[in-house]
Amino acid sequence: MKIVLTSEKCQGHGRCYSLAPDLFDADDLGNAVVLVTGDLDADQLERATLAAKNCPEYAIEIGA
């Protein structure tokens, strides 16, 4: 499973990089950047899912 970020939906709420700073970072404007683009291990998957479930704009999905 991988992180799929739809950047056009991201408005820079910053929930993902606060909850999972090893998986997401902020760019200079505060919008999300994905740090781990490959397959996630079990621990990463759990935190990526938490980040996705806290995004107010539904910009993050966890997909195959």
Binding site: Q11, G12, G14, L29, G30, K53, N54, C55, P56, E57
Partner: protein, 403 residues
């Protein structure tokens, strides 16, 4: 101005009615059952969505709804509201495509890293406010604490003399809370703000500093310096939007903890839970409702909206919608899944959200470290602000234990 008490919020809504100011949540719940978009002829005509899905749809629909005026005034905006896309206080009052240009200019100053650099300043400020309380049994967590934190931060970032705090706090009050005054009187109230900020700008033109005022004076859009009214409007925005909002969020969090000793004890014992708790306080006690104007006659969810009708875009109502949140009216400080809309939704997401969260985190951390047990000194004495920013104003707290 009609100040008849509201008897039915579904058809005669007023966000300055004492019943709404005192406790809006049961009213929102009732409206969700019966409407779910309330209407009012007050303020020249207003619609009030209370479902998350409707708030989300309107926040994302810049084609039918304009942001050119985001604070509801005494009547239809008419000529008083400057035209889109720039508006009076860019970028909050701007529509696409200008909006993203004005916003992009400011975003880097409010991104996580520059905000992180202000943590030490914020911690020192909080500690000095707590020190100043001495060993008083009863302290005012609003007027002696929460209020001063965003004032200190905004003064530092914008480059205003810190000793002017009381002065510009007064301006903010006049702009945000005096919404039920006649138009001319509101314009008069704006005069001192105009004079004060014009002086700050003149001073920065002569003596540039490392702050946002000098940054704005120096900034360019497509090779041109910003129009003077853009610089001025953005400074108004920073001062107005950055103060009552965060003051309210810190105050509401302390107000909650003062009434929920279990939550307070748990946060003292498990400080790592604080970020999760803060998101829940933001959800449950979201301070800010924005406004939109209907661009042209348009039917939305069966409501016949007319050009220049107001929309009260209630993020607090969206955050309490049981169709969107489990146990929406309960405050669960360990709520893990929390897609709340306290900072808005869509392109106008609060520019200062990173700053606000940092201020809340440090303010609460310092307060509960210093005072691990406290309660409301007089629940009846607690008052709330009126208007589109909601939070406790008078907030006397009895200290039961101090570090």
């Amino acid at each position: 101005m009609d100040k008849t008490p509201v008897t039915d919020f579904a058809t005669d809504f007023d966000h300055t009615d004492p019943a709404w100011v005192a406790d809006p949540y049961p009213i929102m719940a009732d409206l969700r059952e019966r409407c779910p978009i309330a209407h009012s002829d007050r303020y020249g005509g207003m619609w009030v969505p209370v479902l998350h899905k409707d708030v989300q749809a309107i926040a994302n629909d810049t084609e039918h709804f304009t942001s050119r005026t985001v604070v509801i005034g005494p009547g239809r905006p008419g000529e008083l509201a400057p035209p889109a896309p720039i508006g009076v206080a860019p970028p909050i009052s701007s529509d696409p495509p200008f909006h993203s240009i004005a916003r992009r200019l400011l975003l880097p100053a409010f991104a996580p890293k520059p905000v992180q650099n202000l943590e030490g300043f914020t911690q020192d400020l909080c500690r000095s406010l707590l020190d100043a309380m001495g060993d008083a049994d009863v302290v005012n967590a609003s007027f002696d604490y929460a209020q001063h934190i965003p004032v200190g931060l905004i003064a530092k970032m914008v480059g205003l003399p810190p000793e002017d705090g009381d002065l510009f706090r007064g301006f903010v009050h006049d702009i945000l809370e005096a919404v039920d005054l006649p138009g001319e009187e509101r314009m008069e109230r704006f005069q001192p703000v105009d004079e004060y900020l014009s002086k700050v700008i003149e001073d920065h033109m002569v003596n540039p500093k490392d702050d946002l005022t000098s940054f704005l004076l120096d900034a360019e859009i497509l090779g041109n310096k910003l129009e003077p009214h853009h610089v001025f409007g953005t400074m108004v925005l920073l001062v107005v939007a950055g103060i009552d909002t965060t003051w309210s969020a810190i105050g509401s969090s302390i107000w909650h903890l003062a009434q929920h000793p279990d939550d307070l004890a748990r946060l003292v014992a498990e400080p790592e839970l604080l970020p999760t708790a803060i998101e829940e306080f933001l959800r449950a006690y979201a301070p800010v409702s924005m406004a939109r104007l209907v661009k042209d006659d348009f039917e939305f969810e069966g409501c016949p909206m007319k050009k220049d009708d107001w929309i009260l875009l209630g993020f607090p109502a969206a955050n309490r919608d049981p169709a969107f949140f489990d146990r929406a009216d309960e405050v669960l400080i360990d709520r893990e899944e929390n897609r709340h809309a306290a900072f808005g939704l869509g392109i106008h997401r609060c520019l200062g959200s990173n700053l606000a969260r940092m201020e809340m985190t440090i303010a609460l951390q310092e307060f509960i470290t210093r005072f691990p047990k406290f309660e409301l000194a007089d629940p009846q004495a607690v008052t709330f602000s009126q208007g589109q920013v909601r939070g406790p104003r008078n907030l006397p707290i009895r200290i039961l234990e101090r570090a």
